[in-house]
């Protein structure tokens, strides 16, 4: 059995041999001059050993470690290989190596890495860094063979880690090429120490120590010098030379021949070394060169030699470039350079055996439950049917372990006809295409899988309709297949904007999926929610989406509702339930705070959502603050699909401050970064611009927009175009004001009437208020004040409980005039007054306290409506005995802002301390 340790939370087996810290062995040359320098570099962050193959990088690290002493520094080691270019695997090994030092280290970070939807890597690393800091021990981590890492994401994350690395930790990277880290900056800051080929080459005295003391060759100084010169101090070259000379009679003759020969050292010497081996050992060396790791049983399976274990031990004894990977003499590997050379010889001399050896290795790994290695060798053997079988069996586990990218990469290696014959693989490869937004290719694969299922094909039997036989390796995946196919279809039809098809497929998926397919059921239910939202049935949409998130959460993805929060809140906003939307965001924010230092993707968007809501409440200070708070969390905390919304929020804030041109520019910026995603886009940016044009009297541009989008008052109405039709009504009212043609205003009123009806039917609260407002403005424009006020009153009555302000205030002078008329008739007195006070624009934002103070020194009566909603909210919390900091926490605003609100409220109430404020506020009926 291959030795591995499997964490309970996962199926990824860790190869213990990769974490083995190699020990000092006989036959190594001690290099005190380098070790001294390394010790001096210990106080820096990074030691970089960067040199080509065969310069003794690993050996140097081993000697250095063995001299550090157990007690002072504790050491973790990772021997990297190609498969570690998968970021999750890389960091799992990184942490596993640290756990060799301290068993509890990185436990939390590891759990996050293995969650089914891991947070951004920076947050995981932040958690890890905190954990390392907390144990307060010196520790050294070695990453050997870092040149095998070929993933920019890993380099970037390692750079982040180095930047924030705890002071008591030291990192050593050994690599054949300079890693893409900011080396110049590290050097300049004195954070790194480097050892390069020139430092690592054997000097004459080291060459002599190696050849004469270690290898016992008793060479004359001139011969040592000749060898050192010929190899230029390249250690692997000297080792090969020494091996070629062992047991040879005429050493001076060998040295003279070698020194006088121009051949590539490796060619010359490997031939010498191989020539001295028996045929059996030579075959063994060549055939096992395809293996990354060597063990007796594995080598026996590959070569058929029953004494493989003895051969390995003999190779180790004779220094033939095998390196033990544990201290039990079970696993070895070839020195990388020697292994490469052997492979080249193998391909040249026994090309016909290469495939066979890979196939045998694959079979051995398969039998020993090591799927990753088995698949790798099957692909190398070009035995695609075998690879396909193994991939199919491993796919669900890989998918659940977030190794989807590895799975997708393998699927791409399989020939087309191999995949086509296998419905299960067709579906997995469809998801790999969906992942890259190759919808047509995905659709084609789904079609093939469906054809197999529809034909009722029996595995292994050819059918007339589908041609050759269908192949199924894992029967247990078949029952869920039709449902997964439908879920895949609902996913991409949604992305393509075909909501009706998406809804149909999502429903089909839910009908067909087995009850225990939680991930797929959850995904399909959430998509159904989005499709229903698009159709305008908001309450149903909300329920579907929430259920979908709940199902996904049951699979262990506890963060999914953070990414889904804005969808839930948006639906509530559309329903006109602003306070509930606020609570949804706050609840999610409380959840993210439970994760302390960790940044969960989507957290920034929660602040963005609150910003939008606070702006509607006309608390522009708090709105701006939310925006800044969200931005401070950084890109990694934000959903990429929401990027445009940040610009949009800034634009709307500018609009509310009365800066129309700045608002327009922000919305244009939003258009530039807009990316289409599956969430229905119910507030098109182009239409938002039209509103601002109208405020700038750019009627012609607005009319052109309406023409371009083929909008007319006689259109069939649908929710997805509602915002555009509302905007059209606005344009028609503006046209009437400008040109005075009855036709425009009649069209506007007819259109609004239709919109009002469908919004009322679907109980879309926000739409209903917006429509009433426009109806009021339209009636007022044609001089029908009585009707105008009727409409306005309905709007006011539904808007007041939810705290709407900007929906009125952003309408500008026409609305201000209408509200004054309303006030004159005594309509909704306090609310109307509060709304009127919001028309002052930016001046009010900056000098709220000043005006309040002025009012009081004038001795005028304080009216409740002079207090903003936020001030009243805070007063209520003060009355409940809640401390300022807790108020700040509860409302997700800064302590500073709480104090400013309190100061403003005190000013308006004419009080100077807490108790007085509470008494006064309760007198005024504000609590």
């Amino acid at each position: 059995m291959i030795e591995n340790s499997t964490d309970k939370s996962t199926n990824i087996p860790l190869l213990e041999t990769k974490l083995f810290v190699p020990g000092w062995r006989a036959g190594m040359v001690s290099r005190p001059r380098l070790v001294d320098r390394m010790n001096q570099g210990l106080e820096r962050k990074l030691t970089l050993v960067s040199a080509p193959a065969g310069f003794g990088k690993t050996t140097l690290a081993v000697e250095w470690l063995s001299g550090l002493g157990e007690g002072r520094r504790r050491t973790g080691w990772v021997s990297l290989d190609q498969s570690d270019s998968e970021p999750i695997l890389f960091w799992v090994y990184f942490i596993a190596a640290l756990q060799k030092v301290h068993a509890d280290l990185g436990r939390e970070a590891l759990a996050l890495l293995r969650s089914s939807q891991p947070p951004p890597i920076e947050s995981i690393l932040t958690t890890l860094i905190n954990e390392i800091n907390a144990i307060g021990e010196d520790l050294v981590l070695i990453l050997d063979d870092y040149h095998l890492i070929d993933a920019p994401a890993i380099h970037a994350a390692l750079e982040f880690f180095l930047e924030h690395m705890p002071p008591r930790m030291h990192l050593l990277i050994a690599s054949r090429c300079d890693p893409p880290l900011p080396l110049a900056r590290l050097r300049a800051r004195g954070d790194s120490l480097e050892f390069r080929a020139a430092d690592l080459s054997f000097r004459a005295d080291e060459a002599a120590a190696f050849l004469n003391d270690v290898m016992d060759l008793r060479l004359a100084p001139a011969e040592v010098e000749a060898l050192e010169k010929r190899t230029e101090g390249w250690i692997a070259g000297l080792q090969l030379a020494a091996l070629s000379m062992q047991g040879r009679e005429n050493l001076p003759g060998f040295v003279a021949d070698f020194a006088g020969d121009d051949r590539y050292i490796v060619d010359y010497l490997v031939e010498e070394v191989l020539r001295r081996q028996s045929g059996r050992v030579r075959d063994f060396l060549l055939q096992t060169s395809i293996l990354d790791r060597l063990s007796g049983p594995l080598c026996e399976a590959v070569t058929g030699l029953a004494d493989s274990r003895n051969i390995l031990e003999m190779l180790e004894r004779d220094n033939l470039f095998v390196i033990p990977l544990d201290d039990k003499r079970r696993w070895y590997r070839y020195h990388h350079l020697f292994g490469d050379v052997l492979r080249a010889y193998f391909h040249e001399e026994q090309a016909d055996k290469v495939g066979l050896c890979h196939r045998r290795a694959s079979e051995w790994y398969d039998a020993n439950a090591s799927a990753l290695e088995a698949i790798r060798h099957a692909i190398a053997a070009e035995d695609y049917p075998m690879a396909a079988r193994q991939i199919e069996l491993a796919a669900p586990a890989l998918f659940a372990e977030t190794l989807g990218n590895t799975l997708y990469a393998w699927l791409k290696r399989l020939p087309e006809d191999i995949v086509r014959a296998r419905p299960v693989l067709c579906v997995w490869s469809a998801w790999s295409y969906l992942d890259e937004s190759h919808f047509e290719a995905a659709d084609a694969r789904l079609g093939i899988a469906e054809a197999w299922l529809a034909a009722g094909a029996v595995p292994g039997k050819a059918t007339e309709t589908a041609g050759p036989a269908m192949i199924v390796a894992d029967e247990t995946q078949i029952p869920a297949l039709p449902g997964i196919i439908a879920a895949a279809r609902s996913f991409y039809t949604q992305a393509l904007g075909d909501m009706r098809a998406s809804e149909r497929f999502a429903r089909q998926a839910l009908e067909q999926l087995p009850e225990d397919s939680l991930v797929w059921r959850g995904g399909a239910t959430a998509i159904l929610g989005l499709a229903t939202w698009t159709s305008g049935d908001l309450e149903t949409a909300y329920r579907y989406f929430l259920n979908g998130l709940e199902l996904i959460r049951q699979t262990g993805n506890s963060h999914c509702h953070i990414t889904g929060t804005h969808v839930l809140a948006d639906v509530r906003v559309a329903q006109g339930r602003l306070r509930e939307a606020c609570e949804i965001y706050r609840q999610s924010l409380r959840y993210t705070r439970e994760w302390r230092g960790l940044v969960i993707r989507g957290t920034a968007d929660l602040h963005l959502g609150l910003c939008e809501l606070y702006r509607e409440f006309d608390d522009l200070l708090a709105a701006t603050e939310q925006l800044q708070q969200g931005r401070r969390l950084g890109e990694m905390a934000a959903l990429t699909e929401n990027r445009y919304r940040w610009c949009l929020a800034e634009g709307l804030l500018e609009e509310s401050k009365g800066n129309t041109q700045a608002a327009l520019e922000k919305i244009e910026e939003a258009e530039r970064v807009f990316v289409r995603d599956a969430v229905p886009h119910v507030r098109p940016l182009a239409a938002l611009k039209v509103r601002l044009w109208l405020a700038q009297n750019r009627l012609q541009d607005a009319l052109d927009w309406a023409r371009k989008h083929k909008l007319s008052a006689d259109d069939e109405l649908s929710y997805i175009r509602e915002f555009e039709h509302l905007t059209l009504a606005r344009v028609l009212i503006a046209r009437y004001r400008s040109e005075g043609k009855d036709k425009s205003i009649m069209e506007a009123l007819r259109l609004l009437e239709g919109l009002a009806q469908s919004a009322a039917e679907a109980r879309r609260g926000a739409s209903m208020i917006g429509i009433r407002i426009l109806q009021a403005l339209a009636c007022d424009a044609r001089g029908d004040l009585a009707r105008a006020l009727q409409h306005l009153q309905v709007a006011l009555v539904s808007a007041e409980p939810e705290g709407y302000v900007r929906i009125f205030a952003d309408e500008g002078p026409a609305m201000r005039k209408l509200l004054r008329d309303a006030l004159a008739t005594g309509m909704a007195q306090s609310y109307t007054r509060r709304l009127l006070s919001a028309f002052d624009g930016s001046a009010r934002v900056d000098s709220g306290a000043a005006t309040a103070a002025r009012k009081n020194t004038n001795g005028s009566a304080v009216l409740p409506e002079h207090l903003t909603l936020r001030e009243r909210e805070i007063l209520r919390l003060i009355a409940a005995g809640i401390k300022n900091q807790d108020i700040a926490d509860q409302l997700f605003i800064s302590l500073h802002t709480v104090k400013r609100h309190i100061a403003n409220a005190y000013g308006k109430l004419g009080v100077s301390e807490r108790r007085e404020a509470v008494a006064r506020a309760s007198e005024l009926g504000l609590l």
Partner: protein, 85 residues
């Protein structure tokens, strides 16, 4: 597809040709080796670098033997010189 010439230190045996992307191996009297052959694109070129690195070979020089195309990255006014170097 462009034709490239790599010059490396030491005389390399023919067996490396296949491992180095099928380049033709020519050993020279000055103790160096030139490897000449078509290189599909930049990715292919970098793959050859990595294989040379893994064999511990020292690359002495590299040049492209084919004439740069007009839409190529090489500035047009220099294209006349490329054959010479």
């Amino acid at each position: 597809m462009d034709l490239y010439e790599f010059r490396i230190a030491g005389q390399l045996s023919d067996r490396w040709s296949e491992r180095l992307g099928g380049l033709a191996v020519q050993r020279r009297e000055d103790g160096t080796t030139t490897l000449v052959g078509p290189v599909r694109d930049q990715a292919d070129l970098h793959g050859i670098f990595i294989r040379m690195r893994n064999l511990g070979l020292s690359l002495l020089s590299l040049r492209r033997l084919t004439q740069p195309r007009h839409n190529d990255w090489a500035p047009r006014e220099h294209s006349a010189n490329t054959d010479r170097c």
